[in-house]
């Protein structure tokens, strides 16, 4: 059974579905997946994300997380400890002044035994590489470090899934890299299901599956390689494609045979080397 499942999910902020923010969304996310949800502002991607742990409830349809219905009040706390959420603004999600005390916030709320909290806090900080900063003032950290603390704060709940709503939008390149590295690690080493909401195509390219949203609907849902082949379509809905993909697109126009789906630096180097080698061989 799917870990997160939306069934005919529709949503309007004022309950009037004639101008719905989400229209009939049916997606299934399995345990251990790394899914990116890509879309421009107003495409409904953040609204969708807020349905995945019960911050918003469907106007129509149903969302289940690990078999629990998000509309079920009784299950809410359990849903939230199963699927944690990281937000865009690093400042506005840190509750306590000191790093480790902030990380302890969720398990404290859950009434977990203090010794166990200690253990979880230490482990969580270790996982995101912030152990060194555990007694630091959260306010003095860089944006990337704050987001890692926010992630650690969720890890301390031992969630099965982490949803990240544009976690890097307000960060500098260094911070973005730190956060992306942490996210990948959580997925590959801790087997945590990741749902990454973003408008950066290079971040989406790191996922194993990309869902493209436009006007409240799912437009594409496939592997990054397949999704970025649709360069024209993505551009038409206001999204970027990786430079490499665009280069392949242009080279094809010049009758140079290249694969369409090239999304990383390394792949691009390999492909270009092949083209250049080809000529040497034919000579």
């Amino acid at each position: 059974m799917a870990f997160i499942k939306t069934e005919n999910l529709s949503f309007a902020y004022d309950d009037d579905l004639s101008h719905a923010a989400l229209k009939n969304i049916n997606i299934e996310i399995n345990e251990g997946e790394f899914v990116a949800i890509l879309g421009h502002n107003g495409s409904g991607k953040s609204t969708l994300a807020k349905h995945l742990n019960g911050i918003l409830l469907p106007t129509e349809g149903r969302v289940t997380v690990d078999g629990m219905d998000t509309a079920d009040d009784e299950a809410l706390i359990k849903i939230r400890r199963t699927a944690g959420m990281v937000f865009q603004n690093p400042d506005n999600q840190i509750v306590a002044s000191i790093v480790e005390e902030d990380v302890a916030f969720a398990p404290e709320n859950l009434g977990i035994d203090p010794l166990e909290i200690r253990k979880r806090v230490d482990e969580a900080l270790e996982t995101v590489g912030m152990t060194k900063y555990k007694n630091h003032s959260a306010h003095m950290l860089s944006g990337g470090q704050k987001q890692r603390v926010a992630i650690a704060g969720l890890l301390a709940m031992k969630p099965k899934c982490i949803i990240l709503d544009e976690p890097t939008a307000m960060l500098d390149p260094k911070g973005r890299k730190e956060v992306m590295k942490t996210i990948k690690k959580l997925n590959s080493e801790e087997n945590i299901t990741i749902v990454l909401i973003t408008h950066y195509m290079d971040e989406a390219a790191k996922a194993k599956r990309v869902i493209v949203m436009n006007k409240g609907e799912v437009m594409l849902d496939d592997t990054p390689h397949y999704v970025f082949q649709n360069a024209g379509l993505l551009k038409s809905i206001g999204l970027d494609v990786p430079q490499s993909t665009e280069l392949m697109f242009e080279l094809r126009k010049q009758d140079i045979k290249v694969p369409l789906a090239v999304i990383s630096d390394d792949e691009c180097v390999t492909v270009l080397k092949e083209i250049l080698e080809e000529d040497r061989v034919t000579d």
Binding site: H40, G42, S142, P173, H199, D265, L276
Partner: protein, 285 residues
């Protein structure tokens, strides 16, 4: 004389406290009227400090001439904020009036202009920001994020600065928002011929808009050269914690492995030409 002349400019925060930090360390360069300059550097490299020196918010040591006037000297900094318009990061956070019109008019009003003049300037600034006149009577707080940002930029353009300085104007916007605000800027630069200085973390934005780039690193000026010269030194850029466009890295790698391509490639168009040239070159060889 150049429009902006910076000579041995230094700035320290927290002088005399244990937290003293050098934010600018003996910087010198000059900018001609009408240039579109990019400013890059990692967080904490001194970028924002430099921007705030331009319009007199900070008082640095050294000399900073704007149109021949050294604004580091006492009494010369007065009114400089109208001549050098500074758009802060996330400028929409400074909107405060109850209508868009009043907010854009705030700067011109502080300049002591007449109502008629203010009105002209508000309309002109609005046009540059690509917004329609209908929103003038709306509250800035009911606009979308991208619109708010443009209103805030218009508020600075309305002061008709000789030099427009922007600190990460596209930060946090999605590709549509980013492209449209940068397109507006290009348009403004082309039509008005005013000097624009643009700070950004996004190398593609810099590559697409600027003629020359100031590269800051740990309070020092690392480079001040044309775009392609700067991207030719991509190794160094990476060393000082900066990104380079994807294709720049790719071609650097090809060059390293002995393929006949140039370095300093940063657009798709350049890359296509490079590949075709290299292929042809290969055939001729």
């Amino acid at each position: 004389m150049s429009q902006i002349e910076v000579k041995n400019l230094s700035y320290k925060y927290g002088v005399g406290t244990p937290f003293e930090v050098t934010a600018l360390d003996n910087i010198s360069f000059s900018v001609e009227k009408g240039e579109f300059i990019g400013l890059i550097g990692h967080t904490g490299s001194g970028k924002s400090t430099l921007l705030q020196c331009f319009n007199g918010l900070l008082k640095p040591e050294g000399e900073l001439y704007i149109d021949g006037v050294n604004i580091c000297e006492k009494n010369n900094a007065k009114g400089i904020c109208f001549k050098v318009g500074l758009v802060f990061q996330y400028p929409e956070h400074q909107l405060f009036e109850d209508t868009v019109y009043k907010d854009i008019a705030f700067g011109p009003k502080n300049m002591g202009l007449s109502e008629g003049e203010i009105k002209d300037r508000v309309c002109e600034a609005l046009k540059f920001s690509g917004l329609s006149e209908e929103i003038l009577e709306k509250s800035p707080f009911e606009l979308s994020g991208g619109q708010k940002r443009r209103v805030a930029v218009a508020g600075v353009i309305a002061m008709r600065p000789e030099i427009l300085v922007l600190d990460e104007p596209a930060a946090g916007l999605d590709p549509i928002g980013r492209d449209s605000i940068l397109a507006n800027l290009r348009e403004y630069h082309k039509k008005e011929g005013k000097t624009v200085i643009l700070s950004s973390h996004n190398m593609d934005d810099i590559a697409r808009n600027c003629e020359k780039v100031l590269v800051m690193n740990s309070a020092r000026l690392e480079m001040f050269e044309t775009i392609s010269e700067v991207f030719k030194r991509s190794e160094r850029l990476k060393e000082i914690g900066l990104d380079v466009p994807m294709l720049t890295s790719v071609f650097e790698e090809l060059l390293k492995e002995g393929y006949p391509v140039n370095s300093g490639i940063y657009t798709v168009e350049q890359a296509v030409n490079e590949i075709i040239a290299a292929k042809d070159g290969g055939k001729n060889a």
